[in-house]
């Protein structure tokens, strides 16, 4: 029984990680209608940048902050230089971000090589808590906690601030919002940077959990896309549910059907789509 419980908790931890990265994706997607296929690569970038800092004796938390900062800046640059020219043009966005992901991923391979790496668990969170006769890593509990905090933050931003409304209005009618004196371009850049920073953050936090290796960007991108599809476009709450669901099913699946865990997740997505073509909490996309 307690082994099952441990697996469940592990699944939730992974789920929370998926939630963190999917949140950035779904916000950019649902709010700005931008498909960002380089999202997984930003995740990867965050992890590798932190790796470099940590390898140079920097504290985990400081490395985390710097990584997030770097990926957010990356987001700003990308948005101002490239992304903003393809608003509203879906195929162009796909191709552009596809190309960007190749550039970034190959840069990572170039600068850091192809061997697998890991980020060490920060000293503060090293160790485990015992549940009966099994031990559970504290770090994973931390990830779960962090995910909850993020959910809280998003809820607050959505329910209590005007930002959500402004962004939504800006997507619908950019000129009008601009005429009202609100700097729409600034807001869009900000949202994109937020999403990028979130991706980098998840990368760093995910480092000790899933490691760092070539191809991790496409893997995590696909997982987050599945989360977004299951949860519903633009709904971070849906992403939370979807992510945790996937985390649990994937972890349990790995135990029982090791070579088919991805198939199970994929089938889950198909089932959800058959029942609810717009995802669990999704709305019709414009």
């Amino acid at each position: 029984m307690s082994i099952f419980f441990v697996q469940l908790l592990t699944g939730i931890a992974y789920g929370m990680l998926y939630f963190m990265i999917a949140a950035g994706l779904t916000i950019i997607l649902g709010v700005m209608n931008v498909v960002n296929l380089a999202h997984g690569t930003l995740f990867m970038l965050g992890a590798y940048i932190a790796f470099s800092f940590i390898s140079n004796e920097l504290n985990f938390w400081l490395a985390l902050l710097l990584s997030v900062f770097c990926t957010a800046i990356c987001g700003v640059i990308l948005e101002k230089l490239l992304i903003k020219y393809v608003y509203g043009k879906e195929l162009e966005q796909v191709l552009l971000t596809f190309g960007l992901s190749f550039i970034l991923a190959d840069t990572v391979e170039w600068l850091w090589g192809t061997e697998m790496k890991t980020l060490p668990v920060p000293g503060l969170l090293d160790g485990s808590i015992s549940f009966g006769d099994t031990a559970f890593p504290i770090y994973r509990l931390f990830v779960v906690l962090f995910g909850c905090l993020l959910a809280l933050l998003l809820w607050y931003l959505e329910a209590r601030t005007r930002i959500g409304a402004i962004i939504r209005a800006g997507v619908d009618d950019r000129e009008m919002v601009g005429a009202l004196g609100i700097p729409v371009g600034f807001v869009f850049t900000g949202v994109f940077a937020f999403g990028a920073g979130l991706a980098g953050l998840s990368g760093v936090l995910g480092g000790p959990l899933i490691g760092m290796y070539t191809g991790m960007d496409s893997e995590i991108l696909v997982t987050s896309l599945i989360v977004v599809v299951i949860g519903g476009l633009g709904s971070w709450k849906g992403s939370l549910i979807g992510a945790v669901l996937i985390g649990i099913i994937e972890t349990l699946g790995k135990v029982w059907f090791p070579s088919l865990s991805m198939l199970i997740v994929f089938l889950l997505m198909m089932v959800v789509l058959i029942i609810r073509p717009n995802g669990l909490l999704g709305r019709e996309v414009a």
């Binding site: 879906e90 896309l225 789509l273």
Partner: protein, 329 residues
């Protein structure tokens, strides 16, 4: 068949026959690969340009076709059977996945096809005992259409060349057929097509199945050609590459993707011989293509064609004007 198609076909036949005379062994090998990739690119071009569907996981079908030949080829020697299986299995998978995928919006379709491609990749990667996992597996199957084993580079070249021409012709037929015109209409204005009485879902499924089976065929042919398959054949990079081929050649045209395949393979070989950073360069090319507008090579060719034949158009316009004046008087 219209004139353009006939000329193109004759030109192709000529090229296929004539090329071995001027190419080195290496060159012939390259062109053989181009023929195979051209089939693959045209299959993606079909759904992108004629049905308006952007699929990011088309390499999934390619891998399925390739591995089918590799795995079944260990037990079955009949070429016709193996090719048949590749086409049919990929087609069925396209049909089933398409039926679920099309109920969702375009956004979702994009993402789901990506997930599909990655799923196929993951399956090939994980089912080590069957597929050899990340190390890939070698292909023992040999082409044999009833006249003896074909394993010389020249004979394989001709097989692929013929396959390419047949694929082109089949697609031409489809595009000019009622079903093809209707599919194009659906891409132009889906709601009107529905209001005119067309069951839009069936046509989308039809074209997706056709595209999937063609992609599977190209994968199968690749197996015979390369004699080695790996999970990367269904990976994200490869899906991106075939999409680039379509874009370079021109979305919305039948033959454009084939040209794009040629340009791409050539570039890839050329640049890879100088640097390992081909993915990065490919990414940069993609970004440049997008930012500069996605006309593609075929549209440039069409511009030239219009410029050369523009005199004819002016005369037509003059006739039209004369008729208008007559009617008014």
């Amino acid at each position: 068949m219209n004139k353009k198609a006939i000329y193109t076909t004759l030109l192709l036949i000529f090229i296929v026959i004539a090329m071995p005379l001027i190419l080195s062994d290496f060159g012939m090998n390259l062109v053989t690969e181009i023929f195979i990739m051209a089939i693959f690119a045209m299959s993606l071009g079909l759904i992108m340009g004629f049905a308006g569907m952007v699929s990011l996981g088309h390499a999934g079908f390619f891998g399925i076709g390739a591995y089918l030949v590799a795995i079944l080829g260990q037990h079955i020697g009949n070429t016709y059977l193996l090719l048949f299986f590749s086409i049919v299995v990929s087609g069925i998978i396209a049909l089933i996945t398409g039926a679920v995928f099309f109920r969702t919006s375009k956004f979702y379709f994009l993402m789901i096809t990506l997930a599909f491609g990655q799923l196929v990749y993951a399956l090939f990667w994980q089912m080590k005992s069957l597929t050899g996992g990340a190390d890939g597996m070698s292909v023992s199957a040999i082409l044999n259409f009833g006249l003896g084993d074909l394993f010389s580079p020249l004979s394989i070249y001709y097989v692929m060349g013929v396959a390419f021409i047949i694929a082109y012709l089949l697609l031409r037929l489809f595009v000019e057929s009622p079903a093809g015109k209707i599919t194009k209409g659906i891409m132009e204005n889906e709601s009107r097509m529905q209001a005119l009485g067309f069951n839009v879902q069936i046509y989308k499924l039809m074209v997706y199945t056709l595209s999937g089976s063609m992609a599977g065929l190209s994968g199968a042919l690749y197996s015979y050609f390369n004699l080695y398959v790996s999970p990367d054949l269904s990976g994200w990079l490869f899906s991106g590459q075939v999409m680039m081929m379509v874009i370079i050649g021109g979305v919305g045209t039948l033959f454009g993707p084939a040209i794009g395949a040629g340009v791409f393979i050539f570039l890839q070989n050329f640049i890879s011989s100088y640097t390992e950073r081909w993915p990065m360069i490919m990414g940069v090319l993609l970004v440049i293509l997008v930012m500069a507008g996605k006309g593609g090579i075929i549209h440039w060719l069409q511009h030239i064609q219009k410029a050369v034949f523009s005199r004819k158009k002016i005369t037509d316009d003059k006739n039209y004007q004369l008729k208008e004046e007559e009617a008014a008087s």
